[in-house]
Symmetry: D2
Subunit: 338 residues, 4 copies
C-alpha cells in the first residue's frame, strides 16, 4: 500500500471545510495532516472533522514543521500569492482554488517563479474540467463525428447572490469558469470579448446591472455566447450547447427522478454548485492525489491556464464597462507548460 | 365543388354539441342540417350554434323529412340500437359514438341487420385510431424494424370521475378504448382477460375499488397490461409503451412548452380527453365525411369491431368480479366485414 | 349555413398548391373558386385538385369576372405589389404570403393605398403567430407570472438550402420570421440589429458565410439572440427560449413518439417547415376565412407589421454586410392600424 | 487519522477485481490486505492491482494469519456458505455479494449462526439500495406527500445473456434484485408471486422463454409488476415507476449528454450494470467501511433480508414453472434483526 499523502489545507472557511471532508472521507490515498488558518474559531471547528490534523496560523510554519506533502489552497483569491510563493519555494505540489491570482500581472509572477522548478507544481481548481458531461462533450468536439464545432451557447444561472457581489464579479467570479473551460473544450484560446446588456432584472440588488450576454471569439473562429444571470430565483443551471456542422450536443440538463403531480411532469433542477458539481469536485481531488503519487503533480488546469484566464477576465471587465469588442493578448506559452 | 354533406346529429348533450361545433366550424365538405333530440332546452341551445339546422324529436322524423344525408349518433350507449335500426333501414351512413351497443347480443343483432345492405354503413367512434401517435406506433409494429412486438404496457389515468361512475364502468367505459385500439395496433384479437387489484386509492368514492391492472392476451401471444386509474387528481394520461424484440416505443408523453421555475423543469400534462385527443376527434370526422363523399362510407372501426369490443368488455367485467383468466370467444368474422 | 367564401389563389407553385389543398380539404366555410397563374402547366395541375375552380392568367381578369370574394397571394415577394394594388382597389380581403413586399419603400406605398379603404384588408402570412406554442409563450410573457421578460434565445436551423440561396437571404428569407414574431411575442418593436459570425460551416455552398448570430434589441430593453443556420443536415428546428426574471420557458422542442433502440433514447425532429408548422398554416387560413365572414377581415399581422419587418430586414442586411449595431427607425404608426 | 481497514477479498473473478479496484482507488479508510482465491492465475492478476496484499487459497488461512479486519465475499452464490461460516466464527464483519446463499434453507442456517454473535455482522450486496435515485424514491414513498403508494411498474432489461443463463435464473439472478429493493422501497414484504408470459423473443437462445412479467403483491396491498427481459439488444435499463394516489415518480430514465443528429434528438442509455450502478457500488462499499469503523458493522440489507429474498425466489421459480399465484411464507423476524 502506497503511503497516504499528507495534505495541508490552507483556509478553513466553507470551501476549505468541504475539501477537508472530501479528502478525509471520500478520497483514497490522502488525509488532512494540517489546517492552516489564522482564525482560531474556524480552526477549532475544522479540526473536529480532521482528527489528528495539526493546526498552523501560517503556511510557512506548516512547511517548517514538515507537516505536509502537498498543499490545497482554499482562501480567497487575493490571498493566494503569499501562500503560493512559500509552497513553490518548498517544492510542494499545490492545488490552488480558482482564480490563480486576481490579475494577470501577479499570475505572470507566479508562472515565472514556478518555472524555476523542474516541472509544473500548481493545479488550479477549475473543477468543471472534471465534470463527466464536460468531458464527454470535449471528446465529441475532438472526434469531429458531427463535423467541426461552429459555436457554443453557454448559460450560467444562479438563484441569487449576496449584497457584496458587485458588477465586475459577473466576470471575475462567474464567467471566469467559462474562460477556463471553453478554451479547454474547444481547444482554442479566447481572442476577444464583448458584453451586451438585456433588460435588467428587477430582482438584482441595487447597483447590479444583469443579466449580461458575454460573447467570446476563439482563435479557431468558434463564437461563444454566455448568458450570465445571477438572480434567477428558480434554480442553479450551468449548461452548454455545442453546435457542430452536422449536429448538436447539450450538457447540464436537469436529470434524476421524474415526477408527475398537479397536471405537470417535472424534474428537479440543481439548487447550487455543490450538487451540480459534486462528482467534479470529488474527481478533481482524487485525480490530483493520484497525480502527486505518480509524480505527474498536475492533472488539470495549470498555472499558465490560470494566467490566460486572468487575461480574459481583464478583457471581460473592460467590455462590461466600456462596450465594444475587447481583444485578449497573451504572452507566448513557454515550453515549460507545453 | 362537391355538394356539402348534410349531417344529422342525434343527441345534443356535451358530446353532441362538440360534434356540431366540429362539423360546422372545422370540417370541410359537411354541415349540420338536423339536430335530433327530445329535450327542447338542449335542442334550442344546440340550434344556436347550428344556424339553419332543422330540429326533430326522433330520428324517424328527420329521415321522413329527407333532412339528412348521414347520421352521427351521440346519445348514451343504451339508446344506440333504436337509432341505429331506422338509420340502417334508411340506408344512411352512420358514425356511432362508442360503444356500438352495451352488450354483445345487441351488437350481434346490429351486425346482422347491417349485412342486409350492400356494404358496411356504420363507423364506431373509437377515435384513438385517428390519433397521430397511435398511427405512428401502428406503423412501427407493422414494419417490424425493431423485431416482433412482444408486449404492451398501457396506462389510462383520469383526474377524477363522478359519483355515478360504478365499478364495472372501469371496463365498459374506460378500458373499452383499449379493447378496440390494442387489437388494431397489434393486429390480433383479444383471447383472454385477467384483472388484478393494487392497493385501493382512498380518493375513490365509496364503493369504487380501483386502480386495477387489466392483463389481456392477444391471439398472437402479445401480452398487454393496462393500468386503469380514475382518480389520480394530477392530470389526464393515456400512454402506451410497446416492447419489441430489439427496441421500445412510447406514445402519449407530455409535450409542448417547457418551463423552469422554482427549481423545477416542467411540462404541462393534459387535463382531459378533449385536449389529448382534439386532433383525433377532428380527423375522425373529416375522414368519415370524406369516406361518405367517396362512397367508402366507413373509414375506421366498423360494427364488427364494435361487437368484438362488447365481447371483451363482458370478459373484463367477469374478470373484475370473479378473478382468474377469462376467455373471450367470438363468432367467426363474416366476409362482409373482411 | 353561411355562404361559402370564394377564394382566388394567386400563384400555383408549391406554396399555392398547398393552400389550395388546405382550403378545399381542411377548411370550413371556404373553397377555391379561381386559380390565377400565367403558367398553363401549373394551372392545369392545380386545377385537378380544385374541381370547379375557374382559371385566369391575371388577377384583374378574375376580379372583372366577379370570380372571387377574397384573394390569397402565393407568388414570390417581388410580384406581390402588382397583385396587391388591383385587389385593394377592388376592396377585396387579402391574405398575402410573407413578405408584404421586398423593401420598406414599396411596403409603405401599400399601406398608404390601403388607408383609402375603411379598414385594413391585408393579412400577411407570418404563420408562426398561429402556432399553438408561440401563442402559449406569448400568454406567459403577458401574464408576467415569472416576472418581466429579459431576453430571448432563438434558433432557426434548416437541413439545407438551395444553390440560389444567397447571403442576404439569411436575413430576408429566414430571420424575417423572427422580425415579425418576436416583436409580437414581446410586445415591443425592434430598435437595432447586430450580426456576429461564428466559424463558417464547410457544408455551406461556396459564397455563403453562415451560420450567423443575429442580436436584436427591442424598445423595451429585451435582448434577442438568433442562431440562423441553414445547412445543419440533421433536421429542422425553430425554437425559442424565453428568460424571465424568475423562470424560463422553451418552445419548439422535439416531441412525439419516443423510441429506444441501439442503446439510445430518441425522438424524431422535424424535417422541414411543413410538419413543424402544419397546425399553424391550417389555423392561419381558418382564422382568416372566419375573419372575412365576420367582417373583421384581418386576424393576424397586418400591412403595417409587414412594413416594420421590411425595415428590420434592411437593417439586418446592413449589419450582415457592414458590422456594428444598426438602428431601425420607423414612421409613426397611423391610427388606421392601431 | 483512523487506522485503515484491512479488507480480505474472497474471489478474484470480474466482480472481485472490480471491488479490489474500488477499495484501493476510490474508498477512504480501507485497503485490500488479502486476496483469497484458489486459482493461481487469477490471484496473480488481481495481486498486480493490489500492491502489498497477501494471497491465500482459503479464507481460513487468511484468518489464521490475522491478515484481515473484514471480509468481502465475491465468489458465486453456491460457494458463499463455506466462506460465511468461518468468517462468522471469527467474528469478522462481512460484505457478502448477493445472494446470501442460493436457497432459503441454507440462508436460515446462516442467520441462526449469526445470532450467536452480539449483533448482525453480514451485509448482503444488494447495491441498488445505495443508488441515489432509489433512495430519493424511497423518501417520496415515506413522505406520502402524493398520498399512499398504490403500485409499482418495474422494468429490468439486459442487452443479452450468455448461453449458460437458464430459465430459473430469470428469477434467481435477475428478479432477485427486485425482491430485495422493492420491499425496502415500499416498506412491506412480498406475500405472493405470479408469472405471466408475453410473446417469446426470437432472440433468446434456445430453451429460454422470455421476457416474463412477474407480479408481486406486498403485505400492504401494493401490487408490483416487473418486466424481466434479458435479450433486448438495445441497452441496459433498470427503471421503476411509482404510482401514488395523487402523483407519479419515475427513476432510472436515460440522462446525460443530449444529442441531435440525423433528424433525431437522442440520449445514450446504459450499456450494462457497471455504469448504471457505478455510484451505488462505490457508496455501498464506502458506507460499509464506515459502518465497520464506527462499530455498526452493517449499513444495508442484512442476512435476514437475504433469507427473505431466498424465499421470494423460491416462490418465483415455482410461479415460473407451474403458473398461478404462489404465496411467500416467512418465519417471524427475530428481534436480533429488528
Amino acid at each position: 500500500m502506497t503511503k497516504s499523502l499528507r495534505v495541508g489545507v490552507v483556509g478553513a472557511g466553507a470551501m476549505g471545510a468541504d475539501h477537508i471532508d472530501r479528502i478525509n472521507n471520500r478520497t483514497s490515498g490522502a488525509f488532512v495532516s494540517a489546517i492552516v488558518e489564522p482564525d482560531a474559531g474556524r480552526t477549532a471547528k475544522a479540526a473536529e472533522n480532521a482528527p489528528g490534523a495539526q493546526t498552523f496560523a501560517k503556511i510557512e510554519d506548516a512547511i517548517a514543521a514538515d507537516a505536509v506533502d502537498a498543499v490545497l489552497i482554499a482562501v480567497p483569491g487575493q490571498f493566494h500569492e503569499p501562500v503560493l510563493i512559500p509552497a513553490l519555494e518548498a517544492g510542494l505540489p499545490i492545488l490552488c482554488e480558482k482564480p490563480l491570482t486576481p490579475d494577470s500581472e501577479s499570475s505572470l509572477r507566479i508562472v515565472e517563479l514556478e518555472q524555476k522548478l523542474d516541472k509544473p507544481h500548481i493545479q488550479v481548481g477549475f473543477m468543471r474540467r472534471f465534470d463527466p458531461e464536460y468531458n464527454e462533450l470535449r471528446k465529441l468536439v475532438a472526434a469531429k463525428d458531427a463535423g467541426e464545432l461552429l459555436m457554443l451557447h453557454a448559460v450560467h444561472r444562479n438563484p441569487t447572490v449576496g449584497e457584496n457581489y458587485h458588477q465586475s464579479m459577473l466576470i471575475t467570479d462567474s464567467v471566469v469558469h467559462e474562460f477556463d473551460v471553453i478554451p479547454w473544450l474547444a481547444e482554442s484560446r479566447v481572442v476577444n470579448v464583448e458584453v451586451r446588456y438585456p433588460k435588467t432584472s428587477s430582482l438584482s440588488h441595487s447597483g447590479l446591472k444583469e443579466p449580461i450576454i458575454v460573447l467570446m471569439e476563439l482563435e479557431n473562429g468558434v463564437l461563444v455566447d454566455v448568458e450570465m444571470n445571477v438572480n434567477v430565483q428558480f434554480g442553479y443551471q450551468v449548461t452548454t450547447e455545442a453546435v457542430f456542422e452536422q449536429g448538436l450536443a447539450r450538457i447540464g440538463q436537469p436529470a434524476g427522478i421524474q415526477r408527475w403531480s398537479a397536471g405537470q411532469f417535472s424534474v428537479k433542477d440543481h439548487e447550487d454548485f455543490t450538487t451540480r458539481f459534486a462528482t467534479a469536485y470529488d474527481r478533481q481531488i482524487q485525480s490530483w492525489v493520484n497525480a502527486v503519487h505518480d509524480g505527474t503533480l498536475v492533472a488539470g488546469p495549470n498555472a499558465w491556464d490560470g494566467y490566460l484566464v486572468a487575461l480574459s477576465c481583464e478583457a471581460g471587465v473592460k467590455a462590461l464597462e466600456e462596450g465594444g469588442i475587447i481583444p485578449v493578448e497573451a504572452e507566448p506559452r513557454p515550453d515549460f507548460y507545453a
